[in-house]
Amino acid sequence: MTAIDFKRFFAKTTPIAPSPVQAMAKETAIVASHINLVYRNGGEEFNALQDVSLTVKSGEVHLLMGPSGSGKTTLLSILAGLLTPTRGQVNLLGEEITQLSRSRLAAFRLKHLGFVFQGFNLFPALTACENVEVAFHLKGVPQARKHAIELLDQVGLADRCNHRPQDLSGGQKQRVAIARALAGNPQIIMADEPTAALDSQNGHAIITLLRNLAKTSGRTVLIVTHDPRILDVADRVTDLEDGKVVTKAKLG
């Protein structure tokens, strides 16, 4: 067997300059263009999203607001690649995720996205540490326990490692969920109503935590909410109504 010519090999596969899309990815984390989504139930069709376009810059805390039924969760699902839009494209970190196969999408989410849910979605049978460890295991990161403890420490729950979700308060559960979302250092955190199940004090603490995590590490945070009390932590807000974007307010 002849030796592989590594120079030639890399010269062929390594682009000399970043592509325009990759360059764009430096400042925009999420670009959604002309998203339409039609829910079909039997014979009935429902336009949940109509021509929604949205840009979220890297490192910003972006709120997606709107009344109940306006399509926020639907949009978030599409942005996360959990739902395929009827029309339109989604670009995350320079990758056209609407073009990816299911398995590539899963791999993309695993690497780049972290999720926080309204209902926490922790594994009730696992302890706080184990819940966070799962994310590390999925990502193939060694020493999951050590990393999990570090993350729980970051969200102020170092002493709750061995507690099961049922033994934690709502706010604590959401902190564990945030720790889990942070595992493996994803660039984008998506949260659907992370404060809805919490009282205002806990809710505010959670949002502040999310914001601080974003600001200290340059992560992009997209939060779906209809909680007006957390407006003050946002860099930008997109308002949805009846499946359409109504305002894009820039705060501050």
Binding site: S77, L110, F123, A125, L126
Partner: protein
């Protein structure tokens, strides 16, 4: 990974126990059905298995071990005269009606053989001795038939065709589940029991008008006759019908050739190896009677019921954790990861259901063997087959349950 499968399983212990009870039920059902089938099949020819003959001389008309036509007794002498034959022993297979001390009637299968012989009685006795049946009107019973024959510790007697029977021993694990209770006696005693039933004669007198006037007289001996008053059983005469001749070849004999020599010397017979006659008998019961089919059907139905039960349990468990699976998928877990969790869970359920079930079935088998002489045969191969079936059952239902998570609706994940 901290086993999500295992933790999910043990999260709710009462629920887990209920699920396991279902699986244990399914596994036990399959095991018992399979064990009965195997035990039944084994038992039908176990008497043959215990014998140590190289060849069996049987009537050409033999259908199965206990269903054969008689051979002339002098065939035993002819057999002895053939080159290569070391020993030839007679085996009688007779039927009789047993009347227990309680007066209840039961059919009985009577085997007659020479207690000094070497080829037939390979079984072990849990009590008594082979030599004891040299006493007239005595028999050894197969273990497990005591109840059917109305025998117990204090009462070891009964009668066949008015002749007394004293039980002088018990042979372990020899009873056929397809047959009547087994009694083993000396040739003479067995022959007498077997004859007595049919010991009737017809006397006919020609009437002047040419018609025959016949009277049928039975010579059954009255019940309750004392042993001392009875004549000893007559030794077998050359004209008596016998059932089989067991042959031991001289060392180093070519069995196929010996078979041919025997066949040539003994017309209207078939010469079978011990394995052949056992196989014919088992095949008869398994294939040619409905019994094997029914038991096989039972095992199949058990498997299907088990599959459904396990499928439901696993499906319910997956449905219970659907949000967690959805969350894993949202986090970017591949289908493979999720399948692995479900399959691991199903394997845990399989193993944890299997182990106690086999324990239960072994105990049950011991009990049926002890009390009824009915064997639920759980050989290592049966146990391995059931383990395989259990795993297939659980994996099969896991694959079924996996369908539920291949397409997780994001709505489930984001629901409050």
């Amino acid at each position: 990974m901290a086993s999500i499968a295992r933790k999910n399983l043990f999260e709710d212990i009462p629920r887990f126990l209920v699920a396991q009870a279902g699986i244990m039920f399914a596994v036990s059902l399959v095991t018992v059905q399979l064990g009965i089938l195997r035990g039944f099949s084994r038992s039908t020819a176990i008497v043959i298995d215990y014998a140590r003959a190289d060849l069996w001389v049987a009537s050409k008309e033999m259908v199965a071990f206990e269903l054969t036509s008689p051979l002339p007794a002098d065939y035993v002498n002819k057999s002895m005269a053939i080159t290569g034959v070391d020993r030839a022993e007679i085996l009688l297979v007779r039927a009789g009606r047993w009347r227990g001390a309680d007066g209840k009637l039961s059919p009985a299968r009577i085997f007659g053989f020479n207690p000094d012989g070497e080829l037939f009685a390979g079984w072990t006795l849990s009590d008594g001795s082979l030599q004891a049946i040299k006493q007239p009107y005595t028999a050894i019973i197969a273990s497990g038939v005591e109840k059917s024959l109305g025998l117990d510790e204090n009462n070891r007697t009964g009668s066949i065709a008015g002749l007394p029977v004293t039980i002088v021993g018990t042979a372990e694990d020899v009873q056929s589940n397809a047959s009547s209770p087994f009694l083993f006696s000396s040739l003479e005693t067995a022959n007498t029991y077997g004859d007595a039933e049919i010991n009737s004669s017809i006397n006919c007198v020609r009437q002047p008008d040419g018609n025959l006037n016949c009277t049928n007289s039975f010579k059954n001996r009255p019940l309750g006759q004392k042993l001392g008053d009875l004549a000893s059983p007559q030794p077998l005469s050359l004209s008596d019908p016998i059932s089989y001749i067991l042959i031991r070849a001289k060392p180093g004999q070519n069995l196929p050739q010996l078979k041919q020599r025997l066949l040539a010397a003994l017309p209207e017979t078939q010469i079978l190896t011990q394995a052949e006659i056992a196989a014919i008998t088992r095949n008869y019961w398994e294939v040619r009677t409905g019994v094997g089919f029914i038991l096989g059907l039972g095992a199949t139905v058990g498997f299907i019921v088990g599959m459904v039960v396990v499928g439901q349990i696993l499906y319910a468990s997956v449905a219970d954790h659907i949000r967690e699976f959805g969350t894993l998928k949202a986090m970017g877990a591949s289908n493979g990861v999720i399948y692995r969790i479900i399959i691991e869970q199903s394997l845990w359920m399989a193993i944890l259901g299997y182990v106690p079930s086999i324990g239960i079935c072994l105990t049950l088998g011991q009990w049926t063997q002890m009390t009824r002489g009915i064997m639920i045969l759980i050989e290592p191969s049966t146990a391995a087959a059931v383990l395989l079936l259990t795993v297939v059952m659980c994996m099969g239902s896991a694959i079924f349950a996996v369908q539920k998570v291949t397409r997780v609706d994001p709505a489930i994940v984001f629901k409050a």
